[in-house]
């Protein structure tokens, strides 16, 4: 059992021990993977024989009656080895476990994970495992296309679709569609055509590859892969616009790929494509894409409608979300529509309504499950890519492969440049050369292309193996070369990175105001532009759809209020916890001043009392706020999860607010205590903090400093990394930063003395507080605390 202390990089021997332990686990697992596969062949025979004997003896016993009981009676087996009947689940579980341990392992070596993107490491691991399996003499498993498309791909796409940032996506939809549709078409024909021309060259020994095969190959390989893009782009924190452009393109080009693939595959047998077929192909494209979106939207609505009625059965709410989405994908696949687009549409459509309806815990569950599944899927995909490389029959042809690589790059660059030239005529915020470069460079290929080639029929496509080899080479090239170099290039070119925005309420109000302003101006100009339609859609949404899909009166909550509630409630909780000694400045509602709430425990100092009336007011406000805050704010990030105030970010907020309070009081009170220094990081504290923190933050190694977590609740982006700042250094009682820096957005600090449950921390005395924290750092029964959703916090 792994000790409770997680693998926090601690100084000295702990790191080594931790790493050693992990390495040991990994080795065990790898061996464990090999052995069963090896074992499956040999005891296979013996166990089957054993079973046959058993059956045989049973039958003969039955036939011959009782006197056989004594004859062929074996000793009762105390311990048996029967691997066969758990074989498949066992192997699957083993692979998943291996994948997850790999993920853990990479982050123990910080240098490595900052240079090499995770996807590369995983492929290398796959190569190693595949090699090992081959050494043992077994044939390594290949990435089965069915497994890939039906089980591995949907979680990733659903995760992407559910958390898709709708606003930047819809604003850039035209650009994205241009890249996805026109760009992919251009790529396929360019690559396919030129490859055919190359194949015609005498010396290459490729004459047998006909035009249609080349075109099909071009179609498969030209599609940018969402899995690879996600895996690489997540780590480079590029600005939102570029991220959504490349990512959106990778999602939407699925329709084009599907159509082209089926088109060329159909006619590869026949050998020619007529004009009618081309026309039908175009029609098919429209059907595939629109149909996919429609199917997704229908299931999305169904899911939203179902979630309206789940108020009494909260536990199965996440199940509905997952099942409906999966059904959308499968239904689309039945008709050969674009499953990816269906999944994206389903997730995007159902999200606002479902989130308004479901309980907070379900929301957390959905978030966690999606991230978990997509993470595991992605890891498995990359590992299997590596293993399949070792496994698959290869046919290497220098000309073909090299030309493919070159043509891919050239086609991508030309396509992006050409399209941007056209697109920039229609955009307000134009794409610069740097943007174009990143878009071109970010066109990674991945496992979808591989699986598609794998599905090809060998009879129609005798060159399947050559295609496979070429595709694997391309995938390796893009993932390794482009994936590894994109990060330094981004830094070199000083491409704008993702802003760590703390969405303040100012921005919220002003943005909405400006939206209305622009809508008005558009109406004055008589111009039906972007804002006009968005406004119309919003009105329609609020008038009809929300009424029917969202339960009860929650349909009426404006976003601004929800946002504000969230902030205020958090502040209220913290202030109640910290218990200030003075009347608060205008931060709090003007009608209420959260003065010190009288603690239950006797304090060492006499504290000002709250009148009963005030206390009641406070409770009422808190209760109302807690019940009303329903709308969740956008979070879009694959690997990290944005904290919710209900979750364990309390303690951070709590202490942050305490800091603010103390700082405020500096200016107001004379006899003020200095800002307390944190106690040293005792194991209890550490355990409480980390044990209660379910989020997989990648905490940069720094033990006795205070990590500062900048979390943004409202903006589409959220910071991934945890910035470590030594806040409590020598600065004593001075304000740690300017008051305006701490906006309504959340900058939470996690000092090492964090308690868990909302407590009646009462005094200003730092020692007292820490003592209280320490007492309460033991988590205690979890449900108690979690149930406070709908109950007042104050006793």
């Amino acid at each position: 059992m792994i000790p409770r202390v997680p693998f926090r990089p601690a100084p000295g021997h702990r790191t080594l021990m931790g790493r050693g332990l992990l390495m040991f686990l990994i080795m065990t697992l790898i061996l464990g993977t090999i052995l069963p596969l090896g074992a499956s062949s040999s005891p296979d025979v013996s166990s089957r024989n054993g079973q046959d004997n058993h059956n045989h003896s049973h039958r003969s016993q039955d036939h011959e009656g009782k006197h056989h009981d004594n004859k062929s009676r074996k000793a009762f087996p105390v311990l048996e080895f029967d691997y066969q009947h758990v074989r498949i689940p066992f192997e699957i579980a083993l692979w998943v476990l291996l994948a997850s341990l790999m993920k853990l392992g990479f982050h123990l070596i910080p240098r490595l994970s900052s240079i090499v993107p995770e996807s590369c490491l995983l492929i290398v691991v796959g190569l190693l495992v595949g090699g090992l399996i081959k050494l043992v003499g077994e044939s390594p498993p290949v990435l089965d296309s069915k497994v890939f498309f039906l089980y591995l791909l949907p979680p990733i796409i659903l995760d992407a679709g559910y958390f898709l940032p709708i606003r930047p996506f819809s604003e850039n939809l035209g650009t994205i569609l241009m890249f996805a549709v026109v760009g992919t078409l251009w790529n396929s024909f360019f690559i396919g055509g030129l490859l055919y021309a190359v194949c015609q060259i005498e010396g290459a020994n490729l004459l047998r590859v006909d035009l249609l095969s080349c075109l099909l190959f071009g179609a498969i390989i030209s599609a940018v892969d969402p899995v690879a893009v996600l895996a690489v782009f997540e780590e480079i924190h590029i600005n939102e616009l570029l991220h959504i452009l490349v990512f959106g393109e990778s999602l939407l080009n699925d329709a084009v790929t599907v159509v082209l693939y089926h088109l060329f595959e159909e006619f590869a047998g026949v050998g020619t494509v007529s004009v009618v077929d081309v026309f039908l192909g175009i029609l098919s494209f429209l059907v595939v894409s629109m149909g996919g979106v429609l199917v997704g939207a229908i299931y999305g609505f169904l899911s939203a409608l179902t979630s309206r009625f789940t108020s009494h059965q909260r536990v199965i709410e996440p199940l509905f979300v997952f099942m409906y989405s999966y059904m959308a994908y499968l239904s689309a696949e039945i008709f050969h529509l674009s499953g990816i687009m269906a999944l994206i549409a389903c997730g995007a459509v159902m999200r606002p309504y479902v989130e308004a309806n479901i309980s907070h815990k379900s929301h957390t569950t959905i978030k966690y499950f999606l991230k978990m599944w997509s993470s595991v899927s992605e890891t498995l995909i990359f590992i299997f890519l590596g293993v399949s490389t070792v496994a698959g029959p290869h046919q290497w042809n220098w000309t073909f492969v090299v030309m493919t690589v070159i043509l891919c790059l050239v086609a991508r660059v030309l396509g992006v440049v050409g399209l941007t030239y056209v697109i920039n005529k229609f955009r307000i915020v134009k794409l610069t050369t740097k943007d174009q470069f990143i878009i071109a460079y970010g066109g990674l290929r991945g496992a979808i292309a591989f699986s598609l080639v794998f599905l090809l029929d060998k009879d129609h496509f005798p060159d399947k193996h050559m295609f496979l080899t070429a595709i694997i080479t391309i995938i390796f090239f893009t993932v390794f070369v482009q994936g590894m170099t994109i990060r330094p290039l981004v830094d070199l070119l000083a491409v704008k990175k993702k802003q760590e925005t703390k969405r303040s309420i100012n921005e919220e109000i002003h943005t909405q105001f400006l939206d209305h302003l622009l809508t008005g101006i558009e109406d004055i100009c008589g111009h039906y532009g972007h804002h006009h339609w968005k406004d119309k859609l919003n009105r329609f949404n609020k008038k009809y759809i929300k009424k029917c899909l969202i339960a009860g009166e929650r349909s009426k909550e404006p976003q601004l209020i929800a946002f504000y509630h969230k902030m205020e409630m958090k502040q209220a909780i913290e202030l109640v916890e910290s218990g200030s000694g003075a009347k608060l400045p205008s931060a709090m509602p003007s009608t209420i001043s959260l003065q010190n709430i009288q603690p239950k425990k006797p304090a060492d100092r006499a504290l000002p009392q709250l009148s009963k009336g005030r206390e009641e007011e406070i409770r009422k406000i808190l209760r109302n706020n807690l019940q009303r805050t329903r709308q969740r704010l956008q979070s879009y990030n694959r690997h990290t999860l944005v904290a919710d105030p209900y979750e364990d970010g309390w303690k951070e907020i709590l202490l942050k607010k305490k800091k603010i309070e103390l700082e405020k009081k500096i200016s107001q009170m004379n006899n003020y205590l200095t800002v307390p220094a944190p106690p040293s990081d005792s194991p209890t504290m550490a355990r409480a903090r980390l044990a209660s923190d379910p989020q997989a933050w990648r905490v940069k190694p720094d033990t006795d400093n205070v990590p500062t977590i900048k979390v943004d609740l409202a903006s589409p982006q959220s910071p991934e990394s945890v910035n470590v700042v030594d806040e409590f250094g020598k600065r004593g009682g001075q304000p740690q930063r300017e008051p305006e820096g701490e906006d309504g957005g959340l900058t939470m600090k996690v000092p090492s003395s964090s308690g868990k449950a909302p407590t009646k921390a009462d005094s200003d005395d730092p020692r007292e507080q820490q003592r209280l924290m320490r007492c309460l750092s033991d988590p205690g029964p979890a449900p108690d605390e979690e149930e406070d959703d709908d109950e007042p916090f104050l006793p």
């Binding site: 303040s504 109000i509 943005t511 400006l514 302003l517 101006i521 109406d523 902030m567 009608t591 906006d743």
Partner: protein, 198 residues
């Protein structure tokens, strides 16, 4: 092209107007047609009632403010020049504009856009957004959500918090600089531009 030229000739002072605002002739023609379409009684100028006739504007929660911005200083008529000048604020920003300190900033520069927006907030034109004005804004913006379940108390808290966040010099009101600072992360060029007015 012929109709463009002839329409252009109908507009008085069109050359200076184009230079001042940066609109192209095609834009000017379009705006002129729109101006005439709004001016139903063919008066040659617009009055607030003409704006009121635009249906969507009536539904807009800040519609009256927008109309008020067109009619500055209590005037009752709006001629084409002023119409175009105001709309010029929403032209997309020219990225390649040379930063010549002598030439005044064009109407559609970022800070002029912000000034325009600020004027919409600041109804009494004292250069600051006071708490009362902010309250009104928030109320109107919320009213757009087709729902009135907001209590006075909540409104006031929101207003308080907004001011607290933005107010740097602690004068309980938001000046233009504070306004600009609070929006520095928002891409104003994008948010306050209409593609049509390219």
């Amino acid at each position: 092209m012929g109709s463009t030229a002839s329409t252009l000739s109908k507009i008085p002072d069109v050359e200076t107007l184009m230079q001042e605002t940066g609109f192209t002739p095609a834009h000017m023609v379009r705006l002129y047609d729109r101006f005439k379409a709004l001016d139903k009684e063919r008066k040659g100028h617009l009055c607030p009632q003409d704006f009121g006739a635009i249906k969507e504007l009536a539904e807009n929660p800040i519609g009256d403010r927008i109309v008020g911005a067109f009619f500055s200083q209590g005037q009752e008529t709006l001629d084409f020049h002023s119409f175009v000048r105001i709309l010029a604020h929403f032209r997309p920003v020219d990225k390649d504009r040379p930063r010549d300190p002598n030439v005044p900033e064009p109407i559609n520069s970022r800070s002029n856009k912000l000034k325009f927006a600020f004027q919409l907030y600041d109804q009494d034109k004292d250069g600051k957004i006071s708490r009362a004005e902010l309250l009104q804004i928030i109320w109107q913006v919320l009213r757009a959500m087709l729902e009135m379940q907001v209590t006075e108390e909540q409104l006031e808290s929101i207003a308080d918090r907004t001011i607290q966040e933005a107010d740097l010099d602690r004068d309980e009101a938001i000046s233009f600089d504070e306004f600009r600072k609070s929006l520095e992360k928002v891409n104003i060029d994008h948010k306050m531009s209409i593609r049509f007015l390219r």
